[in-house]
Protein backbone atom coordinates (compact mmCIF):
# COMPACT_ATOMS: atom_id res chain seq x y z
CA UNK A 1 0.00 0.00 0.00
CA UNK A 2 1.23 3.45 0.83
CA UNK A 3 3.79 2.16 3.30
CA UNK A 4 7.39 3.18 3.04
CA UNK A 5 10.18 1.69 5.10
CA UNK A 6 10.76 3.65 8.28
CA UNK A 7 7.55 5.63 7.99
CA UNK A 8 4.47 5.09 10.14
CA UNK A 9 1.28 4.16 8.27
CA UNK A 10 -0.31 7.13 6.54
CA UNK A 11 -3.40 7.14 4.34
CA UNK A 12 -2.76 8.28 0.82
CA UNK A 13 -4.84 11.44 1.00
CA UNK A 14 -2.49 13.07 3.49
CA UNK A 15 0.49 15.15 2.56
CA UNK A 16 3.92 13.84 3.53
CA UNK A 17 6.15 16.01 5.68
CA UNK A 18 8.74 16.67 2.91
CA UNK A 19 6.05 17.83 0.48
CA UNK A 20 4.38 19.98 3.10
CA UNK A 21 7.71 21.32 4.30
CA UNK A 22 8.68 22.36 0.79
CA UNK A 23 5.39 24.15 0.18
CA UNK A 24 5.56 25.86 3.56
CA UNK A 25 9.16 26.98 3.03
CA UNK A 26 8.29 28.51 -0.33
CA UNK A 27 5.28 30.21 1.28
CA UNK A 28 7.52 31.48 4.09
CA UNK A 29 9.95 32.95 1.55
CA UNK A 30 7.13 34.62 -0.37
CA UNK A 31 5.60 36.01 2.83
CA UNK A 32 9.00 37.22 4.06
CA UNK A 33 9.70 38.85 0.69
CA UNK A 34 6.41 40.68 1.02
CA UNK A 35 7.19 41.62 4.60
CA UNK A 36 10.50 43.27 3.75
CA UNK A 37 9.46 45.09 0.58
CA UNK A 38 5.94 46.26 1.47
CA UNK A 39 5.48 49.29 3.69
CA UNK A 40 5.42 53.06 3.80
CA UNK A 41 8.74 53.04 2.01
CA UNK A 42 8.46 50.47 -0.76
CA UNK A 43 11.69 48.63 -1.42
CA UNK A 44 11.89 46.79 -4.75
CA UNK A 45 12.86 43.09 -4.53
CA UNK A 46 16.12 43.67 -6.38
CA UNK A 47 17.24 46.08 -3.68
CA UNK A 48 16.21 43.63 -0.94
CA UNK A 49 18.42 40.99 -2.55
CA UNK A 50 21.32 43.47 -2.57
CA UNK A 51 20.78 44.22 1.13
CA UNK A 52 20.82 40.52 1.91
CA UNK A 53 23.99 40.14 -0.14
CA UNK A 54 25.67 42.93 1.81
CA UNK A 55 24.52 41.78 5.22
CA UNK A 56 24.74 38.02 4.93
CA UNK A 57 27.63 37.52 2.53
CA UNK A 58 29.68 40.64 3.17
CA UNK A 59 29.27 41.93 -0.37
CA UNK A 60 29.64 45.59 -1.14
CA UNK A 61 26.71 46.39 -3.41
CA UNK A 62 25.44 49.91 -3.86
CA UNK A 63 22.21 50.37 -1.87
CA UNK A 64 20.52 53.44 -0.45
CA UNK A 65 21.65 53.36 3.23
CA UNK A 66 18.28 54.44 4.60
CA UNK A 67 16.43 51.75 2.69
CA UNK A 68 19.08 49.22 3.71
CA UNK A 69 18.48 50.17 7.34
CA UNK A 70 14.73 49.82 6.94
CA UNK A 71 15.02 46.41 5.33
CA UNK A 72 17.64 44.99 7.67
CA UNK A 73 17.00 46.61 11.05
CA UNK A 74 13.25 46.92 10.94
CA UNK A 75 11.51 44.72 8.44
CA UNK A 76 13.63 41.60 8.32
CA UNK A 77 14.04 41.42 12.10
CA UNK A 78 10.33 42.01 12.41
CA UNK A 79 9.58 39.17 9.97
CA UNK A 80 11.99 36.84 11.81
CA UNK A 81 10.40 37.56 15.20
CA UNK A 82 6.93 37.16 13.65
CA UNK A 83 7.88 33.78 12.17
CA UNK A 84 9.35 32.52 15.47
CA UNK A 85 6.35 33.72 17.46
CA UNK A 86 3.91 32.17 15.00
CA UNK A 87 5.79 28.89 15.04
CA UNK A 88 5.89 28.85 18.84
CA UNK A 89 2.19 29.64 19.22
CA UNK A 90 1.28 26.91 16.70
CA UNK A 91 3.36 24.36 18.63
CA UNK A 92 1.69 25.42 21.90
CA UNK A 93 -1.76 25.04 20.36
CA UNK A 94 -0.95 21.63 18.90
CA UNK A 95 0.36 20.35 22.24
CA UNK A 96 -2.51 21.78 24.29
CA UNK A 97 -5.18 20.43 21.93
CA UNK A 98 -3.72 16.92 22.23
CA UNK A 99 -3.12 16.98 25.99
CA UNK A 100 -6.49 18.45 26.89
CA UNK A 101 -8.29 16.55 24.10
CA UNK A 102 -9.93 19.84 23.29
CA UNK A 103 -10.07 21.23 19.74
CA UNK A 104 -10.39 24.78 21.08
CA UNK A 105 -7.37 24.71 23.37
CA UNK A 106 -4.66 27.32 22.70
CA UNK A 107 -2.64 29.71 24.91
CA UNK A 108 -4.81 32.77 24.22
CA UNK A 109 -8.24 31.17 24.73
CA UNK A 110 -7.03 29.37 27.87
CA UNK A 111 -5.93 32.65 29.41
CA UNK A 112 -2.26 31.70 29.52
CA UNK A 113 -1.29 34.61 27.27
CA UNK A 114 -3.30 36.97 29.48
CA UNK A 115 -1.48 35.67 32.57
CA UNK A 116 1.85 36.12 30.84
CA UNK A 117 0.89 39.72 29.94
CA UNK A 118 0.02 40.48 33.56
CA UNK A 119 3.31 39.02 34.77
CA UNK A 120 5.34 40.98 32.22
CA UNK A 121 3.50 44.24 32.90
CA UNK A 122 4.03 43.83 36.63
CA UNK A 123 7.76 43.35 36.13
CA UNK A 124 7.85 46.39 33.84
CA UNK A 125 5.90 48.68 36.18
CA UNK A 126 7.74 47.60 39.31
CA UNK A 127 10.95 48.15 37.40
CA UNK A 128 12.61 44.90 38.44
CA UNK A 129 15.39 45.02 35.91
CA UNK A 130 14.35 46.07 32.44
CA UNK A 131 15.85 43.44 30.18
CA UNK A 132 14.00 40.98 27.99
CA UNK A 133 14.99 38.17 30.34
CA UNK A 134 13.35 39.61 33.46
CA UNK A 135 10.33 40.58 31.38
CA UNK A 136 9.90 37.05 30.09
CA UNK A 137 10.62 35.72 33.59
CA UNK A 138 7.68 37.72 34.88
CA UNK A 139 5.63 36.53 31.90
CA UNK A 140 6.55 32.93 32.74
CA UNK A 141 5.38 33.31 36.34
CA UNK A 142 2.17 34.92 35.11
CA UNK A 143 1.61 32.16 32.55
CA UNK A 144 2.22 29.50 35.20
CA UNK A 145 -0.21 31.21 37.57
CA UNK A 146 -2.85 31.40 34.83
CA UNK A 147 -2.31 27.70 34.08
CA UNK A 148 -2.85 26.75 37.73
CA UNK A 149 -5.85 29.08 38.02
CA UNK A 150 -7.57 27.74 34.89
CA UNK A 151 -6.79 24.10 35.74
CA UNK A 152 -8.11 24.48 39.29
CA UNK A 153 -11.24 26.28 38.11
CA UNK A 154 -11.91 23.67 35.41
CA UNK A 155 -11.39 20.82 37.85
CA UNK A 156 -13.42 22.48 40.59
CA UNK A 157 -16.36 22.91 38.23
CA UNK A 158 -16.37 19.23 37.34
CA UNK A 159 -13.84 19.02 34.53
CA UNK A 160 -14.83 18.26 30.97
CA UNK A 161 -14.00 19.80 27.64
CA UNK A 162 -16.28 22.82 27.81
CA UNK A 163 -15.36 23.66 31.38
CA UNK A 164 -11.73 24.19 30.48
CA UNK A 165 -12.71 26.77 27.87
CA UNK A 166 -15.09 28.50 30.27
CA UNK A 167 -12.37 28.55 32.91
CA UNK A 168 -10.03 29.96 30.26
CA UNK A 169 -12.46 32.79 29.52
CA UNK A 170 -12.72 33.58 33.24
CA UNK A 171 -8.92 33.54 33.47
CA UNK A 172 -8.51 35.77 30.41
CA UNK A 173 -10.97 38.32 31.77
CA UNK A 174 -9.36 38.33 35.21
CA UNK A 175 -5.79 38.69 33.99
CA UNK A 176 -6.67 41.21 31.28
CA UNK A 177 -8.45 43.30 33.91
CA UNK A 178 -5.39 43.04 36.13
CA UNK A 179 -3.15 44.11 33.23
CA UNK A 180 -5.36 47.08 32.38
CA UNK A 181 -5.50 48.06 36.06
CA UNK A 182 -1.74 47.95 36.47
CA UNK A 183 -1.05 49.79 33.23
CA UNK A 184 -3.59 52.59 33.79
CA UNK A 185 -2.64 53.17 37.44
CA UNK A 186 1.06 53.16 36.69
CA UNK A 187 0.34 56.73 35.51
CA UNK A 188 3.05 56.78 32.90
CA UNK A 189 1.75 58.00 29.60
CA UNK A 190 4.13 55.94 27.56
CA UNK A 191 3.37 52.76 29.46
CA UNK A 192 -0.36 53.42 29.26
CA UNK A 193 -0.14 53.43 25.50
CA UNK A 194 1.44 49.98 25.86
CA UNK A 195 -1.85 48.49 26.96
CA UNK A 196 -2.77 47.80 23.36
CA UNK A 197 0.47 45.89 23.02
CA UNK A 198 -0.26 43.58 25.96
CA UNK A 199 -3.88 42.93 25.05
CA UNK A 200 -3.66 42.65 21.26
CA UNK A 201 -0.01 42.18 20.43
CA UNK A 202 2.29 44.18 18.22
CA UNK A 203 5.39 43.51 16.19
CA UNK A 204 6.36 47.18 16.18
CA UNK A 205 9.14 46.76 18.69
CA UNK A 206 10.71 43.66 17.16
CA UNK A 207 14.50 44.00 16.61
CA UNK A 208 17.32 41.56 16.01
CA UNK A 209 18.25 41.05 19.70
CA UNK A 210 14.73 39.66 20.27
CA UNK A 211 15.64 36.73 18.05
CA UNK A 212 18.23 35.77 20.67
CA UNK A 213 15.35 35.01 23.03
CA UNK A 214 12.78 33.78 20.50
CA UNK A 215 14.89 31.19 18.69
CA UNK A 216 16.33 29.29 21.71
CA UNK A 217 12.87 29.12 23.29
CA UNK A 218 11.33 27.89 20.06
CA UNK A 219 14.10 25.29 19.77
CA UNK A 220 13.49 24.02 23.31
CA UNK A 221 9.73 23.92 22.75
CA UNK A 222 10.04 22.09 19.43
CA UNK A 223 12.54 19.58 20.79
CA UNK A 224 10.47 18.69 23.85
CA UNK A 225 7.25 18.52 21.83
CA UNK A 226 8.91 16.27 19.24
CA UNK A 227 10.43 14.09 21.96
CA UNK A 228 6.90 13.64 23.33
CA UNK A 229 5.21 13.28 19.92
CA UNK A 230 4.41 9.59 20.50
CA UNK A 231 3.01 10.37 23.92
CA UNK A 232 0.78 13.06 22.40
CA UNK A 233 -0.48 10.52 19.85
CA UNK A 234 -1.26 8.14 22.72
CA UNK A 235 -3.51 10.75 24.36
CA UNK A 236 -6.02 10.37 21.49
CA UNK A 237 -8.25 8.07 23.54
CA UNK A 238 -7.74 9.80 26.86
CA UNK A 239 -5.42 9.75 29.80
CA UNK A 240 -6.09 6.19 30.95
CA UNK A 241 -5.61 4.89 27.43
CA UNK A 242 -2.31 6.76 27.22
CA UNK A 243 -1.21 5.35 30.57
CA UNK A 244 -2.07 1.83 29.45
CA UNK A 245 0.15 2.42 26.40
CA UNK A 246 3.08 2.96 28.74
CA UNK A 247 3.01 6.77 28.97
CA UNK A 248 3.89 8.34 32.34
CA UNK A 249 0.91 10.65 31.90
CA UNK A 250 1.39 12.87 34.96
CA UNK A 251 5.03 13.53 34.10
CA UNK A 252 4.37 14.14 30.40
CA UNK A 253 1.60 16.58 31.23
CA UNK A 254 3.70 18.57 33.69
CA UNK A 255 6.60 18.64 31.26
CA UNK A 256 4.53 19.79 28.31
CA UNK A 257 2.44 22.29 30.27
CA UNK A 258 5.70 23.74 31.58
CA UNK A 259 7.15 24.05 28.09
CA UNK A 260 3.95 25.61 26.69
CA UNK A 261 3.94 28.14 29.53
CA UNK A 262 7.61 28.95 28.85
CA UNK A 263 7.07 29.33 25.13
CA UNK A 264 3.93 31.43 25.58
CA UNK A 265 5.69 33.63 28.12
CA UNK A 266 8.64 34.24 25.82
CA UNK A 267 6.38 35.10 22.89
CA UNK A 268 4.12 37.36 24.94
CA UNK A 269 7.08 39.28 26.34
CA UNK A 270 8.26 39.93 22.77
CA UNK A 271 5.08 40.54 20.78
CA UNK A 272 2.27 40.72 23.35
CA UNK A 273 -0.80 38.50 23.57
CA UNK A 274 -1.57 37.43 20.01
CA UNK A 275 -4.61 35.21 19.83
CA UNK A 276 -5.94 32.44 17.60
CA UNK A 277 -2.66 31.52 15.88
CA UNK A 278 -2.48 28.47 18.16
CA UNK A 279 -6.04 27.59 17.18
CA UNK A 280 -6.19 28.11 13.41
CA UNK A 281 -2.78 26.79 12.42
CA UNK A 282 -2.85 23.34 14.13
CA UNK A 283 -6.30 22.60 12.68
CA UNK A 284 -5.39 23.62 9.16
CA UNK A 285 -2.13 21.70 9.36
CA UNK A 286 -3.79 18.59 10.82
CA UNK A 287 -6.20 18.67 7.92
CA UNK A 288 -3.28 18.57 5.48
CA UNK A 289 -0.71 16.24 7.08
CA UNK A 290 -2.90 14.19 9.43
CA UNK A 291 -3.00 13.88 13.22
CA UNK A 292 0.30 12.07 13.85
CA UNK A 293 2.34 14.45 16.02
CA UNK A 294 5.71 13.42 14.64
CA UNK A 295 4.64 15.14 11.40
CA UNK A 296 2.10 17.58 12.79
CA UNK A 297 4.43 19.43 15.19
CA UNK A 298 7.13 20.46 12.70
CA UNK A 299 4.50 21.13 10.03
CA UNK A 300 2.45 23.32 12.38
CA UNK A 301 5.58 25.23 13.40
CA UNK A 302 6.33 26.02 9.76
CA UNK A 303 2.74 26.92 8.97
CA UNK A 304 2.56 29.09 12.10
CA UNK A 305 5.57 31.04 10.93
CA UNK A 306 4.04 31.60 7.50
CA UNK A 307 0.67 32.60 9.00
CA UNK A 308 2.16 35.17 11.35
CA UNK A 309 4.41 36.80 8.72
CA UNK A 310 1.47 36.96 6.29
CA UNK A 311 -0.78 38.39 9.01
CA UNK A 312 1.85 41.04 9.70
CA UNK A 313 1.95 42.03 6.03
CA UNK A 314 -1.85 42.29 6.06
CA UNK A 315 -1.80 44.39 9.21
CA UNK A 316 0.33 46.94 7.34
CA UNK A 317 -1.66 47.15 4.11
CA UNK A 318 -5.33 46.83 5.15
CA UNK A 319 -5.62 50.45 6.32
CA UNK A 320 -3.32 52.71 4.25
CA UNK A 321 -0.88 54.67 6.38
CA UNK A 322 -1.77 52.77 9.50
CA UNK A 323 -0.55 49.55 11.13
CA UNK A 324 -3.21 47.41 12.83
CA UNK A 325 -2.23 45.48 15.96
CA UNK A 326 -1.22 41.99 14.77
CA UNK A 327 -3.77 40.45 17.18
CA UNK A 328 -6.59 42.18 15.32
CA UNK A 329 -5.61 40.48 12.07
CA UNK A 330 -5.16 37.02 13.64
CA UNK A 331 -8.53 37.38 15.38
CA UNK A 332 -10.10 38.30 12.05
CA UNK A 333 -9.15 34.82 10.82
CA UNK A 334 -9.30 33.10 14.19
CA UNK A 335 -12.78 34.00 15.34
CA UNK A 336 -14.53 32.52 12.28
CA UNK A 337 -12.32 29.42 12.61
CA UNK A 338 -13.34 29.17 16.26
CA UNK A 339 -17.00 29.38 15.25
CA UNK A 340 -16.50 26.74 12.57
CA UNK A 341 -14.81 24.29 14.95
CA UNK A 342 -17.56 24.87 17.51
CA UNK A 343 -20.24 24.25 14.90
CA UNK A 344 -18.56 21.09 13.68
CA UNK A 345 -18.12 19.63 17.16
CA UNK A 346 -21.79 20.28 17.88
CA UNK A 347 -22.76 18.22 14.85
CA UNK A 348 -20.56 15.38 16.00
CA UNK A 349 -21.86 15.30 19.57
Amino acid sequence: MTLHAGVAPRPFHRLGLPAFGLIALVALLVAAAGAVSIGEVAVPPAEVVKVLGNRLFGMDLAVDPIREGIVWHYRLSRAAVAASAGAGLAVCGTVLQALLRNPLAEPYLLGISAGASTGAVLVMVLGIGAGAVTLSGGAFLGAGLAFVFVAALARGSGGGTERIILAGIAGSQLFNAATSFIVTTSANAEQTRGIMFWLLGSLGGARWPDIGLALPMLAIGLLVALYRARALDAFAFGEDAAASLGIETARVRMELFGVTALLTAGIVSLVGAVGFVGLVVPHATRFLVGPSHGRLIPAAALAGGVFMVAADVLSRIVVPGQVLPIGVVTALFGAPAFAFILWRSRRRA
Binding site: G6, P11, P103, A229, R230, A236, F237, A243
Partner: protein, 254 residues
Protein backbone atom coordinates in the same frame (compact mmCIF):
# COMPACT_ATOMS: atom_id res chain seq x y z
CA UNK B 1 0.57 -17.59 37.22
CA UNK B 2 2.10 -14.34 36.00
CA UNK B 3 -0.53 -11.80 37.07
CA UNK B 4 -2.16 -11.88 40.45
CA UNK B 5 -3.80 -9.69 43.04
CA UNK B 6 -3.02 -10.18 46.71
CA UNK B 7 -5.41 -8.83 49.29
CA UNK B 8 -5.97 -5.87 46.98
CA UNK B 9 -7.96 -2.95 48.36
CA UNK B 10 -8.89 0.38 46.79
CA UNK B 11 -11.16 3.19 47.84
CA UNK B 12 -12.08 6.49 46.33
CA UNK B 13 -13.75 9.44 48.01
CA UNK B 14 -13.81 7.51 51.28
CA UNK B 15 -15.85 4.77 49.62
CA UNK B 16 -14.26 1.30 49.58
CA UNK B 17 -14.66 -0.10 46.06
CA UNK B 18 -12.36 -3.12 46.02
CA UNK B 19 -12.13 -5.00 49.31
CA UNK B 20 -9.23 -7.37 49.83
CA UNK B 21 -9.36 -9.27 46.54
CA UNK B 22 -6.94 -12.15 46.06
CA UNK B 23 -7.10 -13.26 42.44
CA UNK B 24 -4.88 -15.40 40.27
CA UNK B 25 -4.97 -15.19 36.50
CA UNK B 26 -4.45 -18.62 34.97
CA UNK B 27 -1.74 -18.39 32.32
CA UNK B 28 -2.91 -18.55 28.74
CA UNK B 29 -6.51 -19.08 29.80
CA UNK B 30 -9.68 -17.02 29.60
CA UNK B 31 -10.85 -15.71 32.98
CA UNK B 32 -14.31 -14.18 33.16
CA UNK B 33 -15.09 -11.55 35.76
CA UNK B 34 -18.80 -11.52 36.63
CA UNK B 35 -20.83 -9.60 39.16
CA UNK B 36 -23.66 -7.09 39.40
CA UNK B 37 -23.35 -3.48 38.20
CA UNK B 38 -21.17 -1.46 40.52
CA UNK B 39 -19.60 -4.53 42.10
CA UNK B 40 -16.13 -3.21 41.31
CA UNK B 41 -15.23 -5.20 38.16
CA UNK B 42 -14.02 -2.17 36.23
CA UNK B 43 -12.07 -0.88 39.21
CA UNK B 44 -10.44 -4.26 39.69
CA UNK B 45 -9.39 -4.32 36.03
CA UNK B 46 -7.92 -0.83 36.33
CA UNK B 47 -5.98 -1.89 39.41
CA UNK B 48 -4.71 -5.00 37.62
CA UNK B 49 -3.63 -2.83 34.68
CA UNK B 50 -1.79 -0.51 37.06
CA UNK B 51 -3.89 2.55 36.14
CA UNK B 52 -4.91 2.95 39.77
CA UNK B 53 -2.77 2.29 42.79
CA UNK B 54 -4.44 0.23 45.53
CA UNK B 55 -4.25 1.48 49.11
CA UNK B 56 -3.85 -2.04 50.44
CA UNK B 57 -2.39 -5.30 49.16
CA UNK B 58 -0.57 -5.59 45.84
CA UNK B 59 -0.80 -6.53 42.18
CA UNK B 60 2.06 -8.84 41.21
CA UNK B 61 3.40 -9.32 37.71
CA UNK B 62 5.85 -12.25 37.62
CA UNK B 63 5.97 -11.93 41.40
CA UNK B 64 7.12 -8.30 41.20
CA UNK B 65 4.85 -5.59 42.58
CA UNK B 66 3.31 -3.79 39.63
CA UNK B 67 3.97 -0.44 41.30
CA UNK B 68 7.74 -0.99 41.02
CA UNK B 69 7.68 -1.64 37.25
CA UNK B 70 7.82 1.24 34.78
CA UNK B 71 4.65 2.03 32.87
CA UNK B 72 6.39 1.32 29.60
CA UNK B 73 7.62 -2.12 30.68
CA UNK B 74 4.12 -2.99 31.87
CA UNK B 75 2.59 -1.82 28.58
CA UNK B 76 4.97 -4.03 26.60
CA UNK B 77 3.32 -7.13 28.01
CA UNK B 78 -0.05 -6.19 29.48
CA UNK B 79 -2.81 -4.51 27.49
CA UNK B 80 -6.18 -3.08 28.45
CA UNK B 81 -9.30 -2.61 26.34
CA UNK B 82 -11.53 -0.06 28.01
CA UNK B 83 -15.29 -0.14 27.90
CA UNK B 84 -15.83 3.34 26.50
CA UNK B 85 -13.45 4.54 23.85
CA UNK B 86 -13.91 7.81 22.03
CA UNK B 87 -11.71 10.23 20.18
CA UNK B 88 -12.11 13.43 18.20
CA UNK B 89 -8.85 12.79 16.40
CA UNK B 90 -9.30 11.82 12.74
CA UNK B 91 -7.37 8.54 12.98
CA UNK B 92 -7.73 5.60 10.63
CA UNK B 93 -8.23 2.11 12.05
CA UNK B 94 -4.64 1.29 11.16
CA UNK B 95 -3.38 4.36 13.02
CA UNK B 96 -5.35 3.36 16.10
CA UNK B 97 -3.86 -0.13 15.98
CA UNK B 98 -0.40 1.42 15.47
CA UNK B 99 -0.82 3.15 18.85
CA UNK B 100 -0.33 -0.30 20.33
CA UNK B 101 3.32 -0.15 19.26
CA UNK B 102 3.92 2.95 21.44
CA UNK B 103 5.57 1.15 24.38
CA UNK B 104 7.82 -0.84 22.05
CA UNK B 105 9.31 2.24 20.36
CA UNK B 106 11.78 4.75 21.69
CA UNK B 107 11.06 8.46 21.29
CA UNK B 108 13.30 8.89 18.22
CA UNK B 109 12.88 5.37 16.83
CA UNK B 110 11.35 5.17 13.37
CA UNK B 111 8.59 2.81 12.35
CA UNK B 112 10.19 -0.63 11.95
CA UNK B 113 9.38 -3.75 9.99
CA UNK B 114 8.53 -5.45 13.29
CA UNK B 115 6.03 -2.69 14.09
CA UNK B 116 4.50 -3.04 10.66
CA UNK B 117 4.24 -6.82 11.03
CA UNK B 118 2.64 -6.55 14.48
CA UNK B 119 0.01 -4.11 13.23
CA UNK B 120 -0.75 -6.18 10.13
CA UNK B 121 -1.06 -9.36 12.21
CA UNK B 122 -3.34 -7.69 14.76
CA UNK B 123 -5.59 -6.33 12.01
CA UNK B 124 -5.76 -9.74 10.41
CA UNK B 125 -6.56 -11.58 13.64
CA UNK B 126 -9.46 -9.28 14.34
CA UNK B 127 -10.68 -9.38 10.75
CA UNK B 128 -10.16 -5.65 10.29
CA UNK B 129 -7.61 -5.68 7.46
CA UNK B 130 -10.20 -4.53 4.91
CA UNK B 131 -11.25 -1.65 7.11
CA UNK B 132 -7.72 -0.58 8.01
CA UNK B 133 -7.70 2.67 6.06
CA UNK B 134 -11.15 3.77 7.12
CA UNK B 135 -11.48 6.61 9.60
CA UNK B 136 -12.37 5.69 13.19
CA UNK B 137 -15.46 7.92 13.05
CA UNK B 138 -16.89 5.88 10.16
CA UNK B 139 -16.63 2.50 11.96
CA UNK B 140 -19.55 0.77 13.66
CA UNK B 141 -19.53 -0.04 17.37
CA UNK B 142 -18.49 -3.61 16.75
CA UNK B 143 -15.71 -2.57 14.39
CA UNK B 144 -14.42 -0.02 16.88
CA UNK B 145 -14.31 -2.71 19.56
CA UNK B 146 -12.35 -4.96 17.20
CA UNK B 147 -9.95 -2.15 16.37
CA UNK B 148 -9.34 -1.55 20.08
CA UNK B 149 -8.65 -5.26 20.55
CA UNK B 150 -6.32 -5.19 17.56
CA UNK B 151 -4.56 -2.18 19.13
CA UNK B 152 -4.17 -4.20 22.34
CA UNK B 153 -2.85 -7.19 20.37
CA UNK B 154 -0.30 -4.96 18.62
CA UNK B 155 1.13 -4.38 22.11
CA UNK B 156 1.89 -8.14 22.04
CA UNK B 157 0.62 -8.69 25.55
CA UNK B 158 0.90 -11.82 27.61
CA UNK B 159 -2.06 -10.58 29.61
CA UNK B 160 -5.06 -8.94 27.98
CA UNK B 161 -7.60 -7.17 30.18
CA UNK B 162 -11.01 -6.26 28.77
CA UNK B 163 -13.81 -4.29 30.38
CA UNK B 164 -17.15 -5.61 29.09
CA UNK B 165 -15.90 -6.12 25.54
CA UNK B 166 -19.27 -7.38 24.28
CA UNK B 167 -21.19 -4.29 25.36
CA UNK B 168 -23.29 -2.65 22.64
CA UNK B 169 -22.62 -5.49 20.18
CA UNK B 170 -25.28 -7.56 18.49
CA UNK B 171 -25.39 -11.25 19.32
CA UNK B 172 -23.36 -12.41 16.34
CA UNK B 173 -20.58 -9.93 17.04
CA UNK B 174 -20.66 -10.87 20.71
CA UNK B 175 -20.09 -14.53 19.89
CA UNK B 176 -17.43 -13.74 17.28
CA UNK B 177 -15.57 -11.61 19.75
CA UNK B 178 -15.65 -14.18 22.54
CA UNK B 179 -14.48 -16.86 20.11
CA UNK B 180 -11.66 -14.57 19.04
CA UNK B 181 -10.59 -13.96 22.64
CA UNK B 182 -10.68 -17.65 23.53
CA UNK B 183 -8.57 -18.48 20.50
CA UNK B 184 -5.85 -15.93 21.24
CA UNK B 185 -3.80 -18.07 23.58
CA UNK B 186 -2.87 -15.08 25.73
CA UNK B 187 -4.16 -14.79 29.28
CA UNK B 188 -7.46 -12.92 29.02
CA UNK B 189 -9.38 -11.35 31.84
CA UNK B 190 -12.71 -9.97 30.74
CA UNK B 191 -15.53 -8.45 32.70
CA UNK B 192 -18.68 -10.01 31.28
CA UNK B 193 -22.36 -9.44 31.88
CA UNK B 194 -23.95 -12.44 30.21
CA UNK B 195 -23.59 -15.48 32.46
CA UNK B 196 -24.35 -17.88 29.61
CA UNK B 197 -21.50 -16.38 27.60
CA UNK B 198 -19.23 -16.58 30.62
CA UNK B 199 -19.91 -20.26 31.24
CA UNK B 200 -19.67 -21.10 27.54
CA UNK B 201 -16.37 -19.36 26.75
CA UNK B 202 -14.37 -18.93 29.95
CA UNK B 203 -11.89 -21.43 31.33
CA UNK B 204 -12.39 -19.92 34.77
CA UNK B 205 -14.85 -17.52 36.32
CA UNK B 206 -14.26 -15.10 39.18
CA UNK B 207 -17.37 -13.76 40.89
CA UNK B 208 -17.29 -10.29 42.46
CA UNK B 209 -19.87 -8.91 44.84
CA UNK B 210 -19.62 -5.51 46.51
CA UNK B 211 -15.91 -5.32 45.84
CA UNK B 212 -15.04 -8.73 47.24
CA UNK B 213 -14.17 -11.96 45.46
CA UNK B 214 -16.92 -14.49 46.21
CA UNK B 215 -15.61 -17.43 44.21
CA UNK B 216 -13.10 -18.37 41.53
CA UNK B 217 -12.86 -21.63 39.61
CA UNK B 218 -14.15 -23.63 36.65
CA UNK B 219 -17.61 -22.50 35.50
CA UNK B 220 -19.16 -25.82 36.42
CA UNK B 221 -17.86 -25.52 39.98
CA UNK B 222 -18.62 -21.84 40.48
CA UNK B 223 -21.86 -21.00 38.70
CA UNK B 224 -24.65 -22.57 40.72
CA UNK B 225 -28.23 -21.57 41.41
CA UNK B 226 -27.27 -20.75 44.99
CA UNK B 227 -24.45 -18.46 43.94
CA UNK B 228 -26.62 -16.64 41.42
CA UNK B 229 -29.27 -16.11 44.06
CA UNK B 230 -26.83 -14.74 46.62
CA UNK B 231 -24.82 -12.56 44.23
CA UNK B 232 -27.39 -11.31 41.71
CA UNK B 233 -30.46 -11.75 43.95
CA UNK B 234 -32.46 -13.54 41.30
CA UNK B 235 -33.77 -17.08 40.98
CA UNK B 236 -32.14 -19.24 38.32
CA UNK B 237 -31.56 -22.84 37.37
CA UNK B 238 -28.24 -24.15 36.12
CA UNK B 239 -28.34 -27.26 33.98
CA UNK B 240 -25.69 -29.25 32.17
CA UNK B 241 -26.23 -30.89 28.82
CA UNK B 242 -25.36 -34.55 29.49
CA UNK B 243 -23.94 -35.19 26.01
CA UNK B 244 -21.86 -32.00 25.46
CA UNK B 245 -21.27 -31.10 29.10
CA UNK B 246 -22.25 -27.51 28.39
CA UNK B 247 -23.74 -25.41 31.13
CA UNK B 248 -26.91 -23.41 30.73
CA UNK B 249 -28.26 -20.75 33.01
CA UNK B 250 -31.99 -20.02 32.96
CA UNK B 251 -33.39 -17.07 34.86
CA UNK B 252 -36.79 -17.52 36.47
CA UNK B 253 -39.28 -14.67 36.61
CA UNK B 254 -40.02 -14.42 40.35
Amino acid sequence: MTLQARDLAWETGGQPIVKGVTLRVPEGRFLGLVGPNGSGKSSLLRLLAGLRRGQGGAVLLDNRPLSTISRREVACRLALVEQQTATEVALTAREVVALGRTPHRGAWETWSAADHAAVAAALKRTGMTDRADQLWSTLSGGERQRVQIARALAQMPRELLLDEPTNHLDIRHQLDLLKLLRGLGTSCIAALHDLNHAVAFCDEIAVIKEGALVAQGRPVDVITADLIRSVFEIAATVSQDPSTGRLRVDFLPD
